[in-house]
């Protein structure tokens, strides 16, 4: 006699096809055209910024930089859906989400420009975490924050992002499991862009979907077309609502494609098929929302031209701020170590200042 111990289903959501043709039934967010336009404008801004950041790196004015080309819908949907009191735990690519929450582009540049002041987040929520280089550790942090929200009975959610590669990490599994066991108000977004540097998804796991790893943690998992801003935003809205209502955690696998190199020091042409990249370009997120908005009369070529000009001007202004930042004071290495600096470090700070060759312009 065959018994079944468990069974699972992973729903999939898409509302705009790659050309922007809408599904028969559209979700609630589709009714808020102003919001769709706002999100589209931010997606465009992110792309202009991203292109500029790469150019800065290529002209020796920025250190290694992780491009977000192709991920604009995933990231902007996250930031647009979140409330200010929610907490965001980024990896290191989600500028779209961060810009929506008040992180300044020049702060992104400062971080990749080798300057801790980029993490200050002057106008973003103070409880948002900084960029996280050690893969998957941010999942632990998000689960911890969600625990605190629940303990204090606050209607707040933690949101975090990981790549497909990161879902192989132990920290990823541990966090899902904990979120399930404690019914945490956390949204785990797996931004599946198909590549972990040079390792394709097929070498990363044998799971049919990454969303089903949620089952292993005892939480809900769903897959979304991450290049469809409408579907992504709807998924985020629903997941955050669940969290706030005490219904626990959600894992959203956002399907997209990494159109850029892993970082500016990588060359994906070494290990990727150019045909695959070209195909993905045809499905990128800005095309379909632009087409949809144009079709419903909410967008046109003139607005597009103005938007791009505005974005360029804003990005240039942010780049100017970044370039004017100079080198942080040498003693800042010591000044944020502890609330009260221990004696040994006070001495080292003085020694360092005496021996420092700090001068304007940051020479080495």
């Amino acid at each position: 006699m065959n018994n079944l111990a468990a069974k699972f289903e992973i729903p999939y959501f898409q509302f705009l096809d790659p050309d922007g043709k809408p599904a028969k039934a559209m979700p609630r967010i589709a009714g808020d055209v102003a919001e769709l336009v706002r999100m589209y404008e931010t997606m465009s801004f992110v792309r202009v910024f991203d292109t500029k950041a790469i150019a800065l790196q290529r002209t020796g004015q920025l250190g290694t930089y992780a491009s977000c080309l192709g991920h604009e819908a995933v990231h902007v949907a996250i930031g647009a859906a979140m409330r200010r009191e929610d907490a965001f735990f980024p990896m290191y690519r989600e500028y779209g989400a961060q810009f929506m929450r008040g992180v300044h582009p020049h702060e992104v540049l400062l971080f990749w420009g080798g300057d801790e002041r980029g993490n200050c987040f002057k106008d973003a929520p103070a409880h948002d975490f900084a960029w996280c280089v050690p893969i998957a550790t941010q999942f632990h942090h998000a689960a911890g924050a969600a625990t605190a929200f629940k303990y204090r009975k606050q209607p707040r959610c933690a949101v975090t992002v990981i790549g497909d590669g990161g879902t192989s990490q132990g920290d990823f599994y541990e966090s899902l499991n904990c979120a399930g066991a404690w019914q945490l108000p956390v949204v785990f977004v797996v931004c599946n862009n198909k590549w972990a540097i040079s390792v394709p998804l097929s070498a990363q796991t044998s799971c049919e979907t990454l969303a089903q790893k949620a089952i292993g943690g005892g939480i809900r998992g769903e897959q979304v077309d991450g290049n469809d801003i409408v579907a992504m935003r709807d998924a985020m809205d629903r997941a955050l609502e669940r969290g706030r209502q005490g219904q626990g955690a959600t894992l959203i696998e956002a399907m997209t494609y990494r159109l850029s190199d892993h970082t500016t020091a990588d060359d994906a042409r070494r290990y990727r098929d150019s045909a695959e990249v070209e195909d993905a370009k045809g499905k990128e997120p800005l095309i379909r929302i632009r087409n949809y908005l144009t079709a419903i009369g909410a967008w046109d070529a003139k607005r597009e031209e103005k938007l791009l000009a505005d974005c360029a001007a804003r990005v240039d202004a942010e780049v100017a701020i970044y370039k004017a930042a100079g080198k942080p004071p040498v003693e800042s290495m010591f000044d944020h170590m502890f609330a009260n600096l221990p004696e040994k470090l006070v001495r080292q700070r003085e020694e360092c200042l005496e021996g420092s060759t700090h001068h304007q312009g940051g020479s080495h």
Binding site: T51, K52, A55, Q57, R58, T59, G60, L62, G63, T64, I197, H262, T263, T264, A265, D266, D267, R269, R270
Partner: protein, 423 residues
Amino acid sequence: MKTFNLPDLGEGLQEAEIVSWHVKEGDVVKVDQPLLSVETAKAVVDVPSPYAGRIAKLHWKDGDIVPTHSALCDFDDGSPSAAAAAPKPEARQPAKPAATFIKEVPIAEDSGTVVGKMATSSALVEETAIIRKRVVKGTGRPKAAPAVRAYAKSLGVDLSRLTGTGKNDLITRADVDRAASSPGAIAGTKDRRGEARPAVAKPSAPVAPIAFGEMTPLKGPRRAMHASMTKARSEVMGCTIFDDADIHYWAAGNDITGRIVRSIVAGVKAEPGFNAWYDGEKLARQLHERVDLAMAVDTPDGLIVPVLRDVGHKDLAQLRADLNVIKHKTHGRSVSPDDMRNPTITLSNFGMMAGRYATPVVVPPTVAIIGTGGIRHDVVPVLGGVEVHKRIPLSLTFDHRCQTGGEACRFLAAMIKDLQKAT
């Protein structure tokens, strides 16, 4: 005219090969428009334009290898021409891949870093690396604990001249003491390598004796001193008694000079005859109630002797205040002849520099002068044992024409008794 130099592409590479230009001379370009593609040894990279303007000149052609930071192209943007670009280095052909295993993959041009900026060069490192694991029996350098080294240094003892008596020839503190007390132990200086510079010198060349020359006349206080000392020698019959005051039991905070002055007053009280003027021709003397004490002071201009008036009616605080006035006047060179006139008795507190006892000179018409030497720790017998006590050496010279030795001793005894009080 603006020149665009090949930037450091963040891969730490020294050079890049031009794959193809996307613009030609005369084209007008916008900021960030792709200018050319370069190969950076593991990737082909598009370089965007940093300026807007017309391309005036391309300095390289497709296939050239361009060193980082050298001029790529010139822009005519209407701005005045900048200083001439750096001289253009020779265009090179691409290097051949290295031999052996590495030949299979063109690794020679691959810097390979996914992050960061790595210095890359073909500079050949030349080095010697020696493996040295033999046990060396001893280098012959002296071994001593740091404290002993410091001790030896303070005594000027050269460790390399000693044989240590400690374990494994270790030099001990006792070894250093022994060496310090023996003649010739103090070495010459040593240089950093431990080689001693010689302490024995060659004899000097002979020189002629000094000849008599022109004499310089005495001036000022020194001249006056000649006069008064000559007079003293011809008139006074000086006799000096020496003793010590034991100030071991002094309370803290005693003003030394003040106490000495007070003790003189005590001496005068006991033997008034020492606070007097004597006329050796008339064989008469004038005893004084008031004690006007002359204080011998050594100044850069010579010996001067200002007078502290009526010390017998002043307490220690008052004495100190008046002493400070004298000190101030002395430093300011404003001691007047009036300040120095007609003392009744004199104090010479000479011990600050050196000197224990002295035979100070009585200056007529006074009949007594007290000299105090340097306060010192003396070993004194106490109840069959020994202790170390602070003592003030005292010397009293008196004019034996009118005062007796017994009187002098009683004077001194009274001084000592007062000096030895705790306060």
